[in-house]
Amino acid sequence: MHALRIPIPEEEIRSLKVGDPVLLSGVMLTGRDAAHKWMVETFVTRKREPQGDDLAVVEAIRPLLAGGAIYHCGPVVAGLDTKDYRFVAAGPTTSIREEPYQGDVMRHFSVRAVIGKGGMGPKTLAACQEAPGVYLHAIGGAATLIAQTVKKVITVYKLEFGVPEAFWVIEVADFPAVVTMDSHGKSLHAEVEAASRAALDRLLAR
């Protein structure tokens, strides 16, 4: 078991291999579809002009992302009316939807760990090698279990994206995940895909 503290040093990322279980502690950010589209279009490709509080938000999240972790998660949050926020259920969402954006986000913001479920594709795997970074697989649906590792909701940005899509800044302790894509070009998802393809071919040959 690797205990990782955010920000995660580069050499620690390099030491992680596919299959390693990890426990993550420190401050991290949730971000999913709307967040990734916003980050890439406003600050990486700059197809879109910053507006409203965009610049203030990006300055606030930059130091959290540098060497840090972004979690693909749209939580159930209690305390929305009092702003005394608490994560009730907070499992990972399917990561592959961020495949068009994730590599750019990792490079631009120096993100070291991407957390989600279902794995990602070749663009993200290449970014893991360059950045360097890792993809950490959390257990999909294990939302109450994971919510218990969220010790504190520090703040939220871009709540206008909706509760699931906002950037929630959270402090976690011993958040459990498994390395399924490492900085050495290895992906468990690519391996399982290939092996199950071979099994499918055998079944269809029957």
Binding site: G19, P21, A34, C73, G74, P75, V76, V77, A78, V88, A89, A90, G91, T93, T94, I96, K117, G118, G119, H137, I139, G140, G141, A142, A143, T144, L145, A147, Q148, F161, G162, V163, P164, E165, P176, V178, T180, L188, H189, E191, V192, E193, A195, S196, R197, A199, L200, L203, L204
Partner: protein, 290 residues
């Protein structure tokens, strides 16, 4: 007719926070089948721990509380407009109480309504008038990750050697399971409809998911395909969460529909392991949950 809003809220709470016993038992069997120390076994251990924890707190099993899909079968005399209003009021209140995540997003403006109420199709409610005195309401909470890996095939599909028969059905279902990998939160449950038009086929594939895992299809030919597909999907080795392993699906439930001579659709709705399915029955003024 009594106001059922409070009971609908309770139905939603139970559905979001506890799994049917047949599903939990199937997950426990799946855990025993995986090698000790493997990632697959670890995933199932976390899943089972999470189920117990959610029930005890109580809290939603999964943060994606999905599209609420209601099937209401009512005796003559119940007003469906009033039932719809009560269900919608219950969904909004259950969201306020954090039993459900606000999930209804306007597709044109991207604005989340905040209370899970969208247009007439959100939440989804199907009404049917039936014989007898009992009103039964089935609820399925179907998350987006598994909904996204659903698929519809129009047979024949020559690339898969799939013709217009049950062997063709077998081929496309296995292809769909392979394409889904772990993305739909495996081990999943497949609802498969054959025939119909594109729309009715999708509805029937979801309705098949309301059947208990351990029941038997009354149509022998479909019962046989269900059992064969369960075995063969598990030979793909995709495993829990797509980590590789012995259990990729917990079960397959099939329904047959009449079709046009020109059409042969096979529709697969993939349900994640968090198979949140509950039934409420109203008999006179007695309300029961199962």
């Amino acid at each position: 007719m009594q106001d059922l809003t409070e009971h609908f809220i309770e139905l939603i709470r139970r559905t979001s926070m506890d799994l049917p016993a047949d599903v939990e038992a199937a997950l426990a069997r799946a855990r025993e089948a995986e090698a000790p120390g493997s990632a697959a076994r670890g995933a199932l251990e976390s899943i089972l721990e999470n189920i117990a924890l959610a029930r005890g707190k109580p809290a939603p099993i999964c943060q994606d509380t999905g599209t609420p899909i209601f099937r209401v079968r009512h005796p003559e005399g119940w007003g469906t407009r009033r039932l719809r209003q009560e269900i919608r009021a219950a969904v909004a209140e259950a969201t306020r109480r954090a039993y459900l995540r606000p999930n209804a997003v306007d597709t044109l403006t991207d604005k989340n309504s905040g209370n899970n109420l969208g247009d007439a199709a959100f939440p989804t409610i199907h009404f049917e008038e039936v014989e007898g005195q009992a009103l039964t309401v089935d609820l399925l909470l179907k998350g987006g990750g598994c909904e996204n890996v659903g698929a519809q095939y129009s047979l024949p599909v020559s690339a898969l050697g799939a013709g217009r028969d049950l062997e063709g059905v077998r081929r496309v279902v296995l292809d769909a399971v392979h394409k889904a990998q772990g993305q739909g939160c495996a081990p999943g449950i497949l609802g498969v409809a054959i025939g119909g038009d594109r729309g009715s086929s999708y509805v029937a594939s979801k309705e098949a998911l309301l059947r208990p895992l351990d029941d038997h299809n009354p149509i022998p030919a479909l019962a046989e395909v269900e059992s064969r597909l369960t075995t063969e999907a598990n030979l793909l080795g995709i495993g829990p969460m797509g980590f590789g392993g012995k259990t990729t699906v917990l079960g397959v439930k099939m329904a047959g529909l009449h079709r046009l001579p020109a059409s042969f659709f096979v529709t697969i709705s993939y349900m994640c392991w968090a198979h949140r399915r509950r039934r409420m029955t109203v008999q006179r003024d007695q309300v029961t949950f199962e």
